[in-house]
């Protein structure tokens, strides 16, 4: 079931089109990656979902119903540009933000206690925010984002400013929230974490949605029919047996063994290749090369900019 649908959203600033006919569909209980270069329009889109700004055209639907003001209580948002009141005490501030999200004071206190214990930060309650390190403040911010049990969570660059230990803690929390039924939108430049966490992605470039779908499907869509063969034996012998149906794209050493990358041309099958080389070398490993999200990202974005865009 689709949790959030964005349909043909357009947003224009005075002499700049920030979003041009952008649509996307976020399935329920998925982790959805929102990718794109800087200035592509991701933050504007996130702000539209949060009802911070309104689109000029198009609509946002939450579970088949147009999103409304009170729906912001069902959303938890951790913006990229985030901070806290420096002079305010941690507990008081968290309580304030929770109440702004529609929680009752009593309920908020209970929930905060739970989270503070979980993150082992009970001692911070009466500290002023300015006394905490940046990483500590990020933890507080994460707590205030999830405190009201939102159905939809939006994280914009959540891992920036975290050390690896805390980043991992956070990652596990995100996965746990998904398990508990939340739908999560995740905007980041860190392609490693996208591969690790996301089920679906959308790639926005120059105000337009240029790629959308399940992450595995997209990666295989961009695979180039290249295989890596680990072998023992004479590489030259191997190469000399290949006809013009094959193209060698690289050699390397892997775990003390030699490996070659071969691209299949003209609809050649994998078995054909294997039967061709088996007589000459001892094959240890054979696998298809799936492009990383990083490769896909760079490839797609570059393709678009080479085409030139009439929409800028």
């Amino acid at each position: 079931m689709d949790f959030l649908k964005i349909r043909n959203v357009e947003k224009r600033f005075v002499n700049h089109l920030a979003l041009d006919d952008v649509s996307m569909t976020v399935p329920q209980n998925s982790i959805y990656g929102l990718l794109g270069p800087n200035g592509a329009g991701k933050t504007t889109l996130i702000r539209i979902i949060n009802r911070i700004t309104a689109p000029d055209k198009g609509h946002v639907y939450l579970k088949d119903r147009k999103i409304q003001m009170q729906d912001v209580f069902r959303i938890g948002y951790l913006p990229e540009e985030r901070g806290l009141y420096k002079k305010m005490k941690v507990g008081e501030q968290a309580l304030y933000l929770a109440q702004l999200k529609g929680m009752h004071r009593k309920e908020a206190v209970q929930k905060l206690k739970y989270w503070f214990e979980k993150f082992e930060i009970q001692g911070w309650w009466d500290k002023k925010v300015e006394e905490l390190s940046k990483g500590m403040q990020q933890k507080i911010q994460f707590v205030t984002t999830v405190i009201h049990n939102p159905e939809l969570l939006i994280f914009d660059e959540p891992f920036s400013g975290f050390d690896p230990i805390n980043a991992n803690l956070l990652k596990n929390e995100v996965l746990r929230l998904k398990e508990q039924g939340s739908t999560i939108i995740f905007s980041t430049h860190n392609m490693g974490s996208v591969e690790e966490l996301c089920d679906h992605i959308t790639l926005i470039n120059k105000s337009r949605n240029i790629l959308e779908g399940p992450i595995d499907e997209i990666r295989s869509r961009y695979k180039s029919n290249t295989y890596e063969i680990e072998y023992k034996g004479d590489g030259h012998k191997l190469e000399s047996t290949l006809s013009d149906k094959y193209e060698v794209s690289g050699w390397r050493n892997s775990n003390g063994n030699k490996a070659v990358r071969i691209k299949l041309l003209q609809h050649t099958s994998e078995n054909e290749l294997l039967s061709l080389i088996l007589p000459h070398v001892e094959v240890i490993g054979f696998r298809e090369l799936i492009p990383s999200m990083n490769d896909v990202f760079i490839k797609v974005v570059n393709e678009v900019s080479h085409e030139g865009t009439p929409h800028s």
Binding site: V14, N50, A54, D56, V72, Y77, P79, R82, Y85, L100
Partner: protein
């Protein structure tokens, strides 16, 4: 609405608990109290110590004739020379030596006051007026004018002012009092707008530079955040103001009973009233503490004047003035508060606010100029127009009000103020909404105009 309340609460509580708020709350009334009490207190200080003045009178006209007061006493030395006294003057009990030459009746510079310190103005004034009066009397007598005639020519005019109200009543009025009330009202509104308007601006800049604003506007509308902040800080201002009034009253009444132990007698009240008037330049009445030869008459006129002032105080419609004051106080603050919020949202730090502050500062300063100059002609054209135009009306109308302003003018001014603050709030809301999420952009007026035109 619930959210505005939450925001308002936070704005209010964090500010009221600040040390600066508590310090200002205590310091303000102490300052006000000092301004009111100090002149009277200083006067009493001066006079409590008895000053014994030695007199060498070569003219023999003044022996035992100089009037003494509680604190100024004279000792007449016979057959002594100035040098005799001078030699061990410091060890003597004398405050000063008054030397009157025999030429006193004919030359100006024939009276000398010697002292080892600078004699006080009060002492100087007392002595010279006593000598002048005594000589005048002597000369008049020498010219054959009888003492009775002398008494009967003494004239003093005290102008009472009575206002005819539209309903045909007669009202005792005091121009001085009206001026004071007008000044205080106008200046308070001016300070309130600047002090707390700037706080709104700083609060907005703080939220923007802290980067908390995006988190908050994902829960509430920017307009709610802005209004919550403006109203919250406004309430802080009202609280501070109320505490000031309360504490000032406490300090003034406490100090009065300390400085004037005979508190409660009409004289003590009249003295305070007079010293208030004097310290604000309202009345040029004589010093309140000089009973003596002319003391009786003076006291009489003082009593009369005091009675008039109290009559006038009773006749100024304080309920109306306070009501209208609170209205303009809030109206003016809300109008400017939203403009201050818009400025705060448009910049990244306080130093960038200069270019936008000018259009806000100019009408406020203009209003103060009109307040100071126009108060002497409260029904004149300038005072009238500036009390109707909403940007200056809160300040100028307060100045005019104690003199009596036709009802329709007050209502028109109020209506325009309400309309204008709704307009500026709407406009500021649009700038604010865009500005708070805009970083690192040098903003000018053209840019602001674009923001106003954004649809959402």
């Amino acid at each position: 609405m619930n959210k505005i309340k939450l925001i308002l609460q936070r704005e209010y509580m964090t500010r009221v608990r600040k040390k600066t708020f508590i310090v200002m709350t205590i310091l303000g009334p102490l300052l006000f109290g000092a301004i009111v009490i100090a002149p009277a207190w200083l006067a009493t200080l001066e006079d409590t110590k008895t000053k014994n003045i030695a007199v060498i009178d070569s003219s023999h006209l003044f022996v035992n004739r100089l009037p003494e007061t509680e604190s100024i006493k004279f000792t007449y030395l016979e057959n002594k020379k100035v040098e005799d006294v001078r030699q061990n003057f410091t060890d003597s009990e004398y405050y000063a030596l008054l030397y009157i030459t025999h030429l006193v009746a004919n030359t100006n510079n024939s009276v000398i006051l010697y002292s080892d310190q600078q004699p006080s103005l009060g002492v100087k004034g007392h002595i010279s007026s006593a000598i002048e009066k005594h000589l005048e009397q002597k000369k008049l007598r020498a010219a054959g004018i009888d003492d009775n005639i002398l008494q009967s020519v003494k004239t003093s005019v005290n102008l009472r002012t009575i206002q005819w109200t539209e309903s045909g009543e007669e009202k005792e009025s005091s121009t001085e009092l009206a001026m004071i009330v007008g000044y205080i009202g106008g200046f308070l509104i001016y300070f309130f707008i600047f002090l707390f308007g700037a706080q709104v601006m700083r609060g907005v800049i703080e939220e923007k530079t802290n980067r908390i604003v995006e988190i908050i506007v994902s829960s509430v509308k920017p307009f709610q955040l802005m209004m919550g902040k403006i109203i919250g800080i406004g309430l802080v201002g009202l609280t501070q103001f109320a505490l000031w009034v309360l504490l000032t009253l406490m300090i003034v009444s406490g100090a009065k009973s300390f400085v004037f132990p005979e508190l409660g007698t009409p004289k003590a009240q009249e003295v305070t009233a007079n010293s208030i008037m004097e310290s604000s330049g309202g009345s040029a009445n004589a010093a309140p503490f000089s009973p003596g030869q002319a003391g009786a008459e003076q006291e009489l006129t003082e009593n009369l004047q005091a009675a008039q002032i109290f009559n006038a105080l009773g006749d100024i419609n304080f309920a109306l003035i306070i009501g209208v004051f609170i209205f303009f106080f809030l109206g003016g603050y809300l109008l400017y508060g939203s403009l201050f919020a818009a400025i705060g949202s448009a910049v990244d730090n306080e130093t960038d606010t200069q270019q936008f502050m000018l259009p806000i500062t100019i009408p406020l300063i203009l209003a103060i100029i009109v307040l100071v100059n126009g108060i002497s002609n409260p029904q004149g054209g300038i005072a009238f127009w500036f009390s109707i135009i909403p940007l200056t009306s809160p300040i100028v109308m307060m100045a005019r009000l104690p003199f009596g302003v036709p009802e329709w003018q007050v209502l028109l001014s109020m209506a325009l103020l309400v309309l204008t603050f709704m307009g500026t709030t709407w406009l500021s809301g649009k700038i604010y909404r865009t500005g708070i999420l805009m970083y690192g952009k040098k903003v000018n007026y053209r840019e602001l105009w674009k923001w106003i035109r954004y649809r959402n």
